[in-house]
Amino acid sequence: MHPKAKEWTAILAAAMILAYVSTAAVTQMHDYAFWSISLAGVGVFAAICGALLALVNKRAIASTITASAIATLIFAGLWSYIFWSFLGEYLSFLEIFISNLFFLWVLPQSALILTITTLSGLSGLVFVKAIVPERYQPQQL
């Protein structure tokens, strides 16, 4: 597989994991989630993803931050879609984006998710870099 493709599939896989745990961590979803989780659990998963990305990708810091950013975008997009599916009769998708639901709920939650996943992901990455011998880590550019 082309190294770039491998790098991006790893980032997307990490982003999907983080998007799922973030969505399942939201109170409203607890009763419906296949497996609900707390915000602390999101941090643990983010650390695991950061650690795995540190072992797969050469540019691990950029990969971890990108995975967190993509996960947050998926999270915000999904919740906007959920609100739109409930309120679609009354509001257009664009109107959802300029509504209080978006500014007072989706945006703060997304900021929280982005902060937790980025910081925990980077912690996991630093941990792996510190304890795993260099011969097991990808060669830096």
């Binding site: 491998k6 599939t9 790893a10 997307l12 896989a13 990490a14 982003a15 999907m16 994991i17 998007a19 799922y20 745990v21 969505t23 399942a24 409203q28 979803m29 607890h30 009763d31 419906y32 989630a33 296949f34 497996w35 993803c49 795995l52 990305l53 072992l55 797969v56 999904l78 879609y81 959920i82 599916s85 409930f86 795993v132 011969r135 097991y136 880590q137 990808p138 060669q139």
Partner: protein, 180 residues
């Protein structure tokens, strides 16, 4: 690239891919369940089918409803609470206590009657009947309305439901009107 490095990288990559794949399916399933569950709640409809006022020493109203599951999924209904209004004025509720003197009457009996504890299949409806004890001050409103000949009943009912895919109960408020 050394063999150790390659093996570690492969292991981490496969772990990420496996967890990522599971996450995609779980995410789609959860969001779909959540949306379908709430859509099914909007399929519940309440209809008042009749009222009967019994104006004796122990005045009460016999209210008859019909609850219909118009959604495509099963909905569990556990119990309900309701408030009854006549021409916009509150007449009583499922909390109204029996104030009569009959020693054989259990004052809490009507609360037991508010239990449904059934799962409504798609398209299924259930007929409910409830006795509301009407206090004297509120009975005066009923008598006045009966004399004027304009009786417009309204019911605000709160149903404790277990929606499809949900583990916890949800409260759904339904309103219905009835003109005599």
């Amino acid at each position: 690239m050394s063999q150790d490095r390659e093996r570690t990288q492969r292991f981490a990559y496969v772990a990420l891919l496996l967890m990522g794949t599971v996450a995609v399916f779980a995410l789609i399933m959860d969001v779909s369940n959540y949306i379908r569950s709430f859509e099914s709640a909007s399929g519940l409809a309440l209809e008042i089918t009749g009222f009967e006022i019994i104006d004796d020493d122990n005045p009460r109203a016999l209210a008859r409803f019909r609850l219909k599951n118009g959604s495509a999924l099963d909905i569990g209904v556990e119990r309900y609470l309701f408030e009854l209004y006549l021409n916009g004025q509150r007449i009583g509720s499922s909390y109204s206590q029996y104030l009569g003197t009959d020693p054989n009457m259990d004052p809490k009996a009507h609360r037991k009657a508010a239990m449904i504890d059934q799962v409504l299949m798609p398209g299924q409806d259930i007929a409910l009947e409830f006795t509301v004890y009407v206090y004297d001050t509120q009975m005066a409103i009923v008598r006045q309305a009966q004399r004027n000949g304009s009786l417009s009943w309204q019911v605000n009912a709160e149903f404790n439901t277990v929606l499809p895919y949900a583990r916890e109960q949800n409260r759904i408020t339904l309103r219905a009107e009835y003109e005599e």
